[in-house]
Amino acid sequence: MWGSGILNGMRITMRNMLRGPITVMYPEQKLVIPERARWAVAQLYDADGNPKCTACRICENECPDHVLSVVVSPIEGGGKHIDDYVYEVGACMMCGLCVEACPYDAIEMSHEYELATRDPHDLVRVLLHDVDAASPRRVKGGDDA
C-alpha cells in the first residue's frame, strides 16, 4: 500500500527497459521455421524432375475449402494427363489435410510463408500444367527403392 505497488511496477518496467527489446526485425532477421510448419502447398518431384502426382484426385476430395482442383484427361493407351493442377492459395487455410491424405507423398506443406501479394492473380496458382501424371506403381516403387 501507500504507493509501494506503483513504485514496484515502475521498477519492473525499468528493469525490462534495461533488458533490451525482444523484437525480431522481420525482413532483415527471420525466425527459424519449425520442421512441421504448414504453409503453402507445393508439388514434389522425383529424381528425374517429373511430378510425383498420379492425378488420383484424393487431395481435391479431401480439401475442406475446395481450394484444389485437378483437371485430368485420360491418355490413350493408359495413364492420365494433368491439364491443370490449380491451387487457390488465397483461400487455403493450411490445414494440411491434403498432404496427410496423399498416398504418394506427391505434395507437401512447404515453408513458403511470405504469401502476401499485390497481384490478385498470384492468389491462384497453377502448380502443374500440361504434364503426364506419374503412374502409381512407379511412385510406390521409387519410394521403396
Binding site: D65, H66, D84
Partner: protein, 149 residues
C-alpha cells in the same frame, strides 16, 4: 434440496413423458406444451443449471433440446420436445435466465418462436436471413465453391 430422480419429479407433477438412457445420458422426451411446467419442477428439484438449449431439424419437425445439470448431484438431464416448423415453444427464461441467448439463436436459425421471451430480437443474423440450420437451406457444393482459373 430434494435429491429426487427426474422421473419421480415429473411423475409427481403428473406430466406424461418417455424416459430413456442413451449414449448421450438420461433423455426425457415430452410434449412441448408441458416443457415450462416440467422445467419449473425440475429446477426446484435441484436441476439449477441450464447447460445448453438448442434445436435440431429432424427432417420433419424441429427437435428442441434442453440440457440441464444438477450441480449438487453432478448429473445431467436432456429434455427433448418436438416442434413444428415455424411452431413455438414456451420460453423458459424465467426459470433459467441462461436460456435468453440460445432461445433467440434457435428461433432465428431454425425458424421457430419462443413465446414469452422478453427481448425476441435476432441474435446472430440480420433481419431477413433464412433459418440457416434448417436442412432445406443448402450451402454451396464443392463445384460451386471452386473457381478454376
Amino acid at each position: 434440496m430434494p435429491a429426487t430422480r427426474p422421473a419421480d419429479v415429473l411423475h409427481a407433477c403428473g406430466i406424461p413423458f418417455e424416459a430413456s438412457t442413451e449414449v448421450l445420458g438420461e433423455v426425457v422426451r415430452l410434449d412441448v406444451s408441458l416443457i415450462a411446467d416440467a422445467l419449473a419442477a425440475l429446477e426446484e428439484s435441484g436441476f439449477d443449471f441450464l447447460v445448453d438449449l438448442f434445436a435440431t431439424d429432424t427432417g420433419e419437425r424441429l427437435e428442441v433440446t434442453w440440457h440441464l445439470r444438477a450441480f449438487a448431484q453432478r448429473s445431467d438431464l436432456y429434455l427433448k420436445a418436438l416442434v413444428d416448423y415455424d411452431g413455438s415453444a414456451p420460453s423458459v427464461w424465467e426459470t433459467y435466465p441462461a436460456a435468453l441467448y440460445p432461445e433467440r439463436e434457435a428461433a432465428e436459425l431454425l425458424g421457430m418462436t419462443f413465446t414469452g421471451h422478453p427481448n425476441p430480437k435476432r441474435l446472430l443474423t440480420t433481419d431477413g436471413t433464412e433459418p440457416l440450420l434448417r436442412k432445406s437451406v443448402l450451402i454451396r457444393t464443392a463445384e460451386e465453391v471452386r473457381r478454376p482459373s
